[in-house]
Symmetry: C2
Subunit: 209 residues, 2 copies
Amino acid sequence: MRKVSPPQIERYPIYLKCLLGMRERGVRSVSAPILSRELSFSEEQVRKDLQAITRCNGKPKSGRDIAELIEDIKLFLNYSSLTKAAVVGVGHLGKALMNYKGFDDFGLEIVCGFDNDPTLIGNKENGKEIYSIYQIGSKVEELGLEIVILATPSNVAQDIAERFVNAGIKGIWNFVPTHLKVKEGISIENVNLASSFALLQHKLRNEVN
Amino acid sequence: MRKVSPPQIERYPIYLKCLLGMRERGVRSVSAPILSRELSFSEEQVRKDLQAITRCNGKPKSGRDIAELIEDIKLFLNYSSLTKAAVVGVGHLGKALMNYKGFDDFGLEIVCGFDNDPTLIGNKENGKEIYSIYQIGSKVEELGLEIVILATPSNVAQDIAERFVNAGIKGIWNFVPTHLKVKEGISIENVNLASSFALLQHKLRNEVN
DNA sequence: GAATTATCAATAATTTTTTACTGATATCCT
DNA sequence: AGGATATCAGTAAAAAATTATTGATAATTC
């Protein structure tokens, strides 16, 4: 397998979604030009992306087997191994994340929530219990939590993140618009709505895309 | 002003957030090395990014004036001009988006919601009325909606998007994991959780970052 | 007030990512 | 069956983005 770049990694779930839909509709094989039209990626990009993670070659004229592609992308994305996560901060966004269908599809299991609001603690959201911030120490290990999905208010995000890191968490999916500083070896991925919206605004103003 | 690239556009809201925090704490000026440490960007990147959108030069030893930087970033990001939007699909995610604080900060005003569930239509969420899908035609113009924030189920996203485009919408902030095909001149920005999660997984597995 | 130092702007080099090109080949068509 | 064609793999070129380098200068220190 070739080296895979971050932009490529971001594209694989997009290919996967598209391929699953095609298979659903009974399509058996697919070529780079077809995916190119379907997803508005360049043909070359599609070919390179698929080539990088699949062991089987495409065939001239007919392209690639969809089932095999799906397998290979899932394998690359690790969708069969389950990752256990907790949602931290069960406000509007946190609730939405605890109810999000589709996390299952990519091997992400939301096990529970955490909050510091006494009126929430002990409740369930989508069948998952909400624990107190003070239970971090015990629950991370007890439940085998690997990552946290951070959706707290900005001003407490750094503090809460540190507590989870100290409790043994290895990754943070950060929905809070705050840059977290954590020790070496902890993985962070930020979802920044302001950044995304800035891109949209820019496209709107400059009439690109 | 120099040419600004998409990755840079994504970074400006991050600088802004950071600078606002510093100003709050009484700091008056900031240098590239300081922001570099604060945000884990390289010094060179910070310097280039700021240089690209600010008209005033930084001074050796002391750096740049924070207030001026904030002004310039806000100006570049168009935060003073209001963009009117509707949330389409008032499920868990849609509700969260209708309640999200902080959209105001970047000039995004959520005016109303749309859904096709009769039990939701006519209700208010965070003080904003939820209209029926059948009211798209009238409401887009009546309310001056420029963009829609799409949070519907996957299978209807394309259809609903087209209806809004036909009604005169200019941009789509797409939270649905579906590639939308729309006519020339319509701007789309996708928020794809699967892509973001794939990056996190990759960092976790390869122990980078 | 001269020397030192942290920072800057501008330009150059490097790295990363995307796109283009070339020859080969499986499928389709007559 | 044999030629036409769509697609592929592999490599090369181009474009985009990041990082490094260089000389200059404002603030600080002695």
